[in-house]
């Protein structure tokens, strides 16, 4: 059981109010809504399947990063390139990298961790899931717990985005997030037990929607 200080810090880093730009991205959801494919009726089922595909991939990298040792920073930077190769769509990949950089800079500044500061000073391409895992590891958080917290934070951001795209109220949004918790726990367990290179992810429609996002006539989100 991690100490209370570590849990409080983790909670702060997982707060959707963390100034890393999460509210500016929809990761393709805006295109799905625009195409009439995503609505309030199928949102919960969509998110459950999203967790099984994209979610498990992200938490596998998050959990693996959580286990990193100081001397393996170059290996971690290589994992970031592997992760980028698995995110084919430019806008979503660039969003993940932009948020990762801001997260890492902030975490390095707040924590005074040598590892985080060295990682931030490298100036290499880093991604949010891996930066979250690396930071959680520095705080002594268990990889599976870090993965679950990261995934819940990601889903909170997506649901919040849907509140701006769909007629989705606060209560319904929280009901959905509440009911997704078993799927989050299962994905975190699977992600923590699986090498990231072995994780499957099948989301062609989401890829197409994300790739079509720059073509939308009016856009609320950057991605």
């Amino acid at each position: 059981m991690p100490d209370m200080m570590a849990l409080l810090r983790l909670q702060q880093f997982a707060d959707s109010a963390l100034p890393i730009g999460g509210a500016a991205h929809s990761f393709g959801l805006e295109s799905l809504v625009d195409a009439g494919l995503l609505n309030t009726e199928n949102l919960e089922a969509f998110l459950e399947d999203y967790i099984q595909e994209v979610g498990v991939l992200e938490v596998a990298y998050c959990a693996r990063s959580c286990e990193l040792r100081q001397q393996h920073l170059l290996t971690w930077l290589g994992w970031n390139l592997d992760f980028a190769a698995r995110r084919p769509v430019r806008e979503s990949r660039e969003a993940s990298a932009a948020m990762g950089k801001r997260f890492l800079d902030l975490a390095a500044r707040l924590s005074n961790s040598d590892l985080l500061q060295e990682a931030a000073e490298r100036g290499s391409e880093v991604h949010l899931a891996l930066c979250f895992g690396l930071t959680a590891g520095v705080m002594g958080i268990d990889p599976e717990l870090a993965a679950a917290v990261f995934l819940q934070q990601s889903l909170t951001t997506l649901i919040s985005c849907c509140q701006r795209l769909l007629p989705l109220g606060q209560t319904r949004a929280h009901e959905i997030l509440w009911r997704l918790k078993p799927a989050i726990v299962e994905a975190a367990r699977l992600g923590a037990d699986t090498s990231p290179g072995d994780v499957f992810c099948f989301s062609p429609l989401l890829d197409v929607a994300s790739a079509r996002h720059p073509s939308l006539h009016t856009r609320l989100f950057i991605s």
């Binding site: 195409a35 969509f46 399947d49 190769a85 769509v89 806008e91 099948f202 429609l205 890829d207």
Partner: protein, 281 residues
Amino acid sequence: MQRPAQLHLSFELDARGSTILRVKTQQPPWRVVRGFDAPSGEKLAHVHNVSGGILDTDSLEWRVDVGARAQAQLTSTGATRVYRSRSHDRVATQRAVVTLGEDSYFEYLPDQLIPFAGSRFEQSTRIDLARGASMIWWDLIAPGRDASGELFGYESLSSTFEVCACGEPMATERWNIAPQTQRLDSIARLGPFRYFASCYVCRAGESANYWRALENDLQVIADRRTTADVSWGVTSLRKHGLVVRGVAMSGRSLSDGLVEFWRAAKWILCGRAAALPRKVH
């Protein structure tokens, strides 16, 4: 453990600077007759699977090496049919390794993959591009024998697809489809669509601005071709290339679209007009 059936093709420049095909290894069911001169300048080879399709006892491997400055085009002679597995647990496998030398050019333009009801198939592909190497690679996956009303009746279909340029990963796909246990009509997967396709366009060493410009050019085609029954998107990879993805209700709309993207990309990539490979059947 069954030894895989191997095919090894090497495209090389001869003394006059023309691309020649050397068939270094071919074991049944693989068969390549000879190289043909494609109108656009590449050496064209048709890969036959003389058994007519992939059986659950098959373990297949193919390797293609394209030497420095050589230009090659590879296609199939028809759709790749993956037959129903007759055993309880066997999975047919196919592994491909492609190496592209400096300033080489390679196109892989196969017909669609059709996994029959009850089939299990696992494919993996690894492509390495040296500096200046260019590639256009498409694939199209059907839900089954659509004309017979057979949709997503297969047991499992998995794929690992890795492209590296100058030793660095640029795109990795790794997916598994198990229609009996997954909701394929989920918006997170295929939604209302049944077919899916990708077309990778790559050149190692080309700038990010080049790919953004090509992305914009091809997105015009994607926008024009997107309807209620088919949707296309174009996006730049992290480096060295872009990918066109499509999902559709019918295979024809995807294959027609792939041809148009290929023609446009080839013209911009190397200034040559694309001509569909002549089929020998």
